[in-house]
């Protein structure tokens, strides 16, 4: 049977299109899309994957076909036909890829806009208005820092203050190593990043969380509550704004299920906004090389119901108030060594009596 080559071309073209469309939608290469933004990114990826599979199969198919069909037959030492090129064909395979990439660009542009990449507030204003801190015991934290907080308007400092003033981080931070504590007027940079999506523009986010990255940990502070945590808890369905900076080197905040990544850069503030839509526990990964333990700098994001979230906040507040009250009660000069040590030794299961015994035995 002799089927004309144009029919073959048509059939192969249809098969190629169907395979590309099927694989573009059914590749299952990306993890759960846990935010509204992730759904948009996945749509873009699947579209690109469709086009890519088509181009891939076309090129590999032609290579394999040529290798069999046009291989030199034994004894044939003649040359192939003198085809030097053809301007219309060159134009065709310049224009078609150009149209494809312009299409992908426009689609990407649209997705980026939907994600909030063009939030105009980012560039001109600080992303968050300064909010007064309502936190018991913050005075004592101020006395812990060797450099008093600057009163000069420095955007870095304004924004890092909320995280820094927290006593819960005192044990892990070294104030003299925090770049924001140096007054560096030249670096008052707010890095414009992923802001609010167009429909939420101008409205405050449902929830703001400050993130401080350091070698090799993440610290999350919830500004209005005083809660400090090493895990990120967010309620489902509310827009979350994450404000981040780093204390030492560049880190990057990445949640694969959110499809969002943002570098946390020392001396700069960056923000991203997202709206979680599926509850669950997801990995939060540092994606920028930050030293030997870079691979271990992971924590969790927990997307939970608003009730569970509120309960978690309350538990954290109770725990934090207890710690602070203990801290406020401690005035080392007025206390005997036993009294001073009591809060610590009780944690270790050591009774004051035993300490006294040690004391007397020593004499």
């Amino acid at each position: 049977m002799n089927i004309p080559s144009s029919i073959w071309t048509l059939l192969i073209g249809i098969a190629l299109t169907l395979v590309s469309l099927w694989y573009g939608q059914n590749n299952h290469l990306l993890p759960t899309a846990a935010t509204d933004e992730a759904v948009l990114v996945d749509g873009l990826f699947n579209a690109m994957m469709t086009v890519s599979v088509g181009i891939f199969l076309l090129v590999e198919g032609i290579l394999i076909y040529c290798a069999f069909k046009y291989r030199r037959r034994p004894g044939d030492n003649s040359d192939g036909p003198p085809v030097f090129g053809n301007v219309p064909l060159e134009a065709l395979w310049t224009l078609i890829p150009a149209i494809i990439v312009i299409g992908i660009s426009v689609y990407s542009f649209d997705v980026y806009n939907e994600m909030g990449g063009f939030n105009p507030h980012d560039v001109h204003e600080p992303p968050v208005a300064q909010k007064p801190m309502k936190m018991p015991g913050s005075a004592i934290a101020a006395t812990l820092s060797d450099t008093p907080p600057s009163t000069a308007p420095n955007l870095n400092q304004q924004k890092s203050e909320e995280a820094r003033l927290d006593p819960a981080t005192a044990s892990v931070r070294n104030d003299d190593q925090i770049p924001q504590q140096r007054n560096a007027p030249g670096v008052g940079v707010v890095a414009p990043t992923i802001g609010s999506s167009p429909d939420k523009q101008g409205k405050p986010p449902g929830l703001a969380v400050n993130v401080t990255a350091m070698q090799f940990a993440w610290i999350f502070t919830y500004p209005d509550t005083g809660v400090v945590s090493s895990e990120l808890h967010v309620p489902v369905g509310r827009e979350v704004m994450v404000n981040m900076t780093a204390n030492d080197v560049i880190h990057a905040f990445w949640v694969p299920e959110f499809r969002l990544k943002q570098d946390a850069i020392p001396g700069m503030q960056s923000e991203i906004r997202f709206t979680p839509r599926i509850m669950g526990t997801y990995p939060l990964i540092c994606a920028e090389l930050c030293g030997p333990y870079h691979g271990a700098m992971n924590t969790k994001v927990i997307v939970e119901t608003p009730e569970a979230y509120n309960q978690w906040i309350q538990e954290q507040q109770v725990a934090s108030i207890e710690e602070l009250n203990q801290a406020v009660a401690v005035k080392p000069a007025d206390l005997s060594p036993t009294e001073f040590l009591a809060p610590y030794t009780s944690n270790l299961g050591i009774q004051p009596e035993i300490l006294k015994q040690i004391h007397t035995n020593h004499h």
């Binding site: 873009l44 994957m49 660009s105």
Partner: protein, 580 residues
Amino acid sequence: MTQAQLQETANQPALIEEPGVRNWRDYFTFNTDHKVIGIQYLVTTFVFYCIGGVLADLVRTELKTPEVDFVSREVYNSLFTLHGTIMIFLWVVPAGVGFGNYLIPLMIGARDMAFPRLNALAFWIIPPAGLLLIASLLVDAPDAGWTSYPPLSLTTGQIGQSAWIFCLLLLGTSSILGALNFMVTILKMRTPGMTVHQMPLFCWSMFATSALVLLTTPVLAGVLILLAFDLLAGTMFFNPTGGGNPVVYQHMFWFYSHPAVYIMILPFFGAISDIISVHSRKPLFGYKAVAYSSLAISFLGTIVWAHHMFTSGTPGWLRMFFMITTMIISVPTGIKIFSWLATLWGGKLRLNSALLFAMSFVGMFVIGGITGVMVAAVPFDIHVHDTYFIVAHIHYVLFGGSVLGIYAAIYHWFPKMTGRMLNEFWGKVHCALTFVGLNLTFMPMHALGMMGMNRRISEYDPKFESLNFLCTMGSYLLAVSTFPFIINAIWSWMYGPKAGNNPWDALTLEWMTTSPPAIENFDELPVLATGPYDYGMSNRNTEVDVPLADEREPVLAAGPSSVLRAEPDPNVAANPEDRK
């Protein structure tokens, strides 16, 4: 007479009968012969490739299991830092320079490069720079990645980081000297009958590469000097503690290091164009389109750098600008790929090792090109930036592209360089092992990155173990695949069958001299009696069947009257119709 015989007959006066066989000691001296320098480059860089490969296999051995159980975390960071630096700056970039040195004067009919002593100097900078870097591994290895972003690079070992900076400054200097030499040689030293539109495509691509090197390498030198000041003199250019801005480093670094990808791939785009045409026994499809697409890639390559920084807090408009320029660069690249496919189509393919490597190059590079368009799209890049998806992408470009291109070029030009043929059977074994190994190593990395495995980590989530195991096995296969090549190359260099002057019946001028070429290449000026790609022209009136073509109009023609053809010198053309 075949086309090759016509070209050889016309160049009989230029041919020096005595092959230029060199004493092995010459290769260890400050020799100014471009062919000696070319071999020096290729052998030295291949040694560095083997060292970089061992480092890669050590990295993969660590990653075979999710735990840190093979080397310490600090050593692991040094391993991938040195692997990246060696493979880029001591293997692929100088290997392109090596082929350029060996081939360009021969291809354009010159007796040597424009500045022979500068050329030797450019080479002799490389061994000490490489030794400096490798020696740092024994003292205090750099471990901030091959990108060495501050502030991390300012807080790790000072000695190792300084060694890394000075190594790169030396290599950058060598690169600039080489590029200057190529530019002048290509512009001023061509045989009088050869206009730029008659140069082999390898010369076009080396010209585009050299332009990029001259424009961007000084910026790398600048940023490295600033980084050295921050590291050693306590300045604060990039250190936020003193008001510096680490993102400025990234801009300056990528202003060089993205074009560096084109510096690494463009020479082999050119080499592949030559190889595919010769072994398909067909003219290269769309010579002028392919030639100018190199220049387009070179130009566009300088305005795409910030796509490495989509998550660094760059403004929205800047992200969009760099997304669009990056996507557009796939258009000239697409012209090349489709032109190569059109060259293969309807040819009489001699499926030897050189062509098999060249066809693998096209098939693998296209994967890197496709993922390149994907990561150009900002929203998707924000997800996969700094993950194994990127690792897979760069390895399909630099291994599936550049390294396969280097091997194709070695198999193609080895007979010219040594006067002896490589063993075909072991060449094909090498090609097959490399092809399987590279796909086994790098294909699973795409999935790993999208699922959530970040790069530059020594420990990972146990759910990624099976795919990582595949990658590691693939990397061992790649290590094994180099042995047939090394043994084949050494054995053939000493005992292989004699090649003759033109074993492939090629038309470009390097085949018009002896193998290995005589000391000063040509006795008299060589001529282009046929165009460099005039295969299949024994009868000018052969009918060609190309869609959309019309032979009466040069703009629409597909045959010898096409405007895209590289024509012979009209004064000496073998075919009367090409004379004017």
